[in-house]
Structures are given as structure tokens and as C-alpha cells.
């Protein structure tokens, strides 16, 4: 009975650790998985292996994963402008000080996660369909749109503080991707 319980717990924890989308959560589940498998080794009369797994799997590797994740918490931002032929350094420098750098600083300082930026000149529909970005900035003529999800807490904070973050541009429109269909935004 005890054996069955431990083994089923192992399967459930492995599934949650693999299928979970939140990296931090799945690292903690991996630590719980290691602790449970150490218990299973103890049940199977291998105390040496249980000791090694408890010291290495739970202690060392969890801390190493967390340290690695602390450096690279990623918030994925994509800047879309279909009018630009090729993005070079001059183009990026132009938008850097007005939009991108304040947003980056806000995400770093306030939300404590690291932003990752990508610039593209493909069409918005293609980017939305193929890539899975957390937040997208779309520049079309003189108008600026910000796309995001209502369930995304970071995006909610960005929207709430938008006037303080981006002071250069007055007219920014916020569009929630999961409320508005793509055709209605044109």
C-alpha cells in the first residue's frame, strides 16, 4: 500500500513537473519528485542511494536550477513594425529611448523578471499565429498598439502604469488578445 502510494505520487509529480508552464513551479515540483524518489529508494532497501539522492537531487540541483532561473527569468516582448525594410541599429536606437527602454526597465525593476526583446518586420497576423509572445508592440503609421492577455499579471501591471512608463507617446491603445478577435482590430 505504501509502495503503491509512493509510486503513484512519483508519477503525478513527474507529470506536473514536465507539463507545467511555470518554470519556477516545475523546479519546485522536481525537488518534491526527488524527495519522493528518495523515499522510494528507502522503501526498496537502498539507503545509500536514498542518502545520495536526498543530498544531491533535493539540495544541490534544486538550488542550481533556481540560480540559473534567477539570471534568466524571461518576459517575451516582440516589437512589430511592418513599414521598416530592415531593422538596423539606427532604427532600434530610435525606438529604444521612447518605448523599449522604459518598458524594459519597468519589467526588470518592478516585476523582477528579465525582458527578452525581438524586433521583426513581418506582418502582425503571422507573428501572432506562429510565435507565442507575452506582449507585442505594434507600430502602424503614427499609432502604437500594445497586445497582451488579460490573464497575464505582468501585462496588467504594464497597462495600469502605462502613463508613467511611456511619457513620450500620448496615444497608445491597449488590445487584449483573448477578448478581441484579430479581424476586429484592423
Amino acid at each position: 500500500m505504501f509502495e503503491t502510494f509512493v509510486l503513484l505520487t512519483l508519477l503525478v509529480l513527474a507529470c506536473v513537473a514536465v507539463f507545467s508552464d511555470n518554470l519556477r513551479r516545475s523546479i519546485i515540483f522536481l525537488g518534491a519528485f526527488s524527495l519522493t524518489i528518495a523515499l522510494a529508494y528507502l522503501h526498496y532497501s537502498a539507503p545509500d542511494v536514498a542518502l545520495a539522492e536526498a543530498a544531491i537531487g533535493v539540495g544541490l540541483s534544486t538550488i542550481m536550477y533556481l540560480v540559473a532561473l534567477k539570471k534568466v527569468s524571461v518576459y517575451d516582448i516582440c516589437y512589430v513594425n511592418e513599414d521598416v525594410e530592415v531593422f538596423d541599429d539606427r532604427q532600434i536606437n530610435e525606438i529604444m529611448n521612447s518605448i523599449v527602454r522604459p518598458l524594459e526597465l519597468f519589467v526588470e525593476r518592478t516585476e523582477e523578471i528579465e525582458p527578452q526583446l525581438a524586433y521583426t518586420n513581418r506582418s502582425l497576423e503571422a507573428v501572432m499565429r506562429e510565435d507565442d509572445h507575452d506582449c507585442m508592440i505594434h507600430r502602424k503609421g503614427n499609432l502604437t498598439y500594445i497586445y497582451g492577455d488579460t490573464t497575464d499579471q505582468v501585462f496588467q501591471d504594464i497597462v495600469a502604469n502605462l502613463n508613467e512608463i511611456i511619457t513620450d507617446i500620448e496615444d497608445i491603445r491597449v488590445i487584449y488578445r483573448d477578448e478581441v478577435t484579430l479581424d476586429g482590430t484592423d
Binding site: 513527474a14 519528485f33 536550477y65 540559473a68 534568466v72 513581418r122
Partner: protein, 119 residues
């Protein structure tokens, strides 16, 4: 045979290996790939530990003869394998952080950087 009798150590080890393989194939985050590799390793360890286990065996310590000893060979092999596993994890995470720092890659994505990216 009741369905709960199928939950033995070897079968769970095989299932853990394939759960890890599935994560290795589908997940796009590099950290998730490394975690899937360690789940695969754990499945192999569990399989080895339970492959010659008889109910009621005692750990192979001391000279107690009233109960049978469990097989000490897989234990000795798996201890070394666990220490090598943390080395593999450390190398993977180091290379991941190196790639992140140098190229900005955190995902195994084919779609990004195709056309006109300046990052």
C-alpha cells in the same frame, strides 16, 4: 490481477523514462529540457534499484542472516550515476546560461530570427 498490482517499481521506472522523453521532445524551454533529462535519469535509477528486489529483504549492512540481503550491485552503480547526473545537469545549465548571455537564446524556437530581426 488487480490494477494496482501493475504499479511496481520497474513499470513506474519505464513510465518515468517516457514521461521525460515526452518532455524532451515537446518542451521549447531549454531549462525544461534539462529537467526532463533528469526525470529520465531518475526513471533509470528506479528501474535498476527495483530490478532484483524481493519483499522483506534488508539492506546489505552488517552480518544479520535472518533475512536475505538486497542486491548491492545496483546500489553501488547508481550512487556513481547520481553523482555523474549532477555533473551533467551542471554542464547543461552552464551552457544554457552561456547561450543566454551570448546569443539571447532561451527557447528551442525555429520561428524567431527568420526575417529581419535585429536582436
Amino acid at each position: 490481477m488487480k490494477p494496482l498490482d501493475f504499479i511496481t517499481g520497474e513499470i513506474v521506472g519505464i513510465l518515468l523514462f517516457f514521461i521525460g522523453l515526452y518532455g524532451l521532445m515537446t518542451k521549447k524551454t531549454i531549462v525544461k529540457t534539462i529537467m526532463s533529462m533528469s526525470i529520465m535519469e531518475s526513471g533509470i535509477f528506479l528501474f535498476y534499484i527495483t530490478i532484483n528486489f524481493t519483499e522483506g529483504a534488508v539492506p546489505p549492512i552488517g552480518q544479520a542472516q535472518e533475512a536475505a540481503f538486497v542486491d548491492p550491485v545496483p546500489s553501488a552503480l547508481m550512487i556513481t550515476a547520481i553523482v555523474i547526473g549532477i555533473g551533467v545537469t551542471a554542464i547543461g545549465l552552464t551552457m544554457f546560461m552561456h547561450y543566454k548571455q551570448k546569443h539571447g537564446i532561451t527557447h528551442w524556437s525555429r520561428n524567431r530570427n527568420q526575417t529581419g530581426s535585429g536582436h
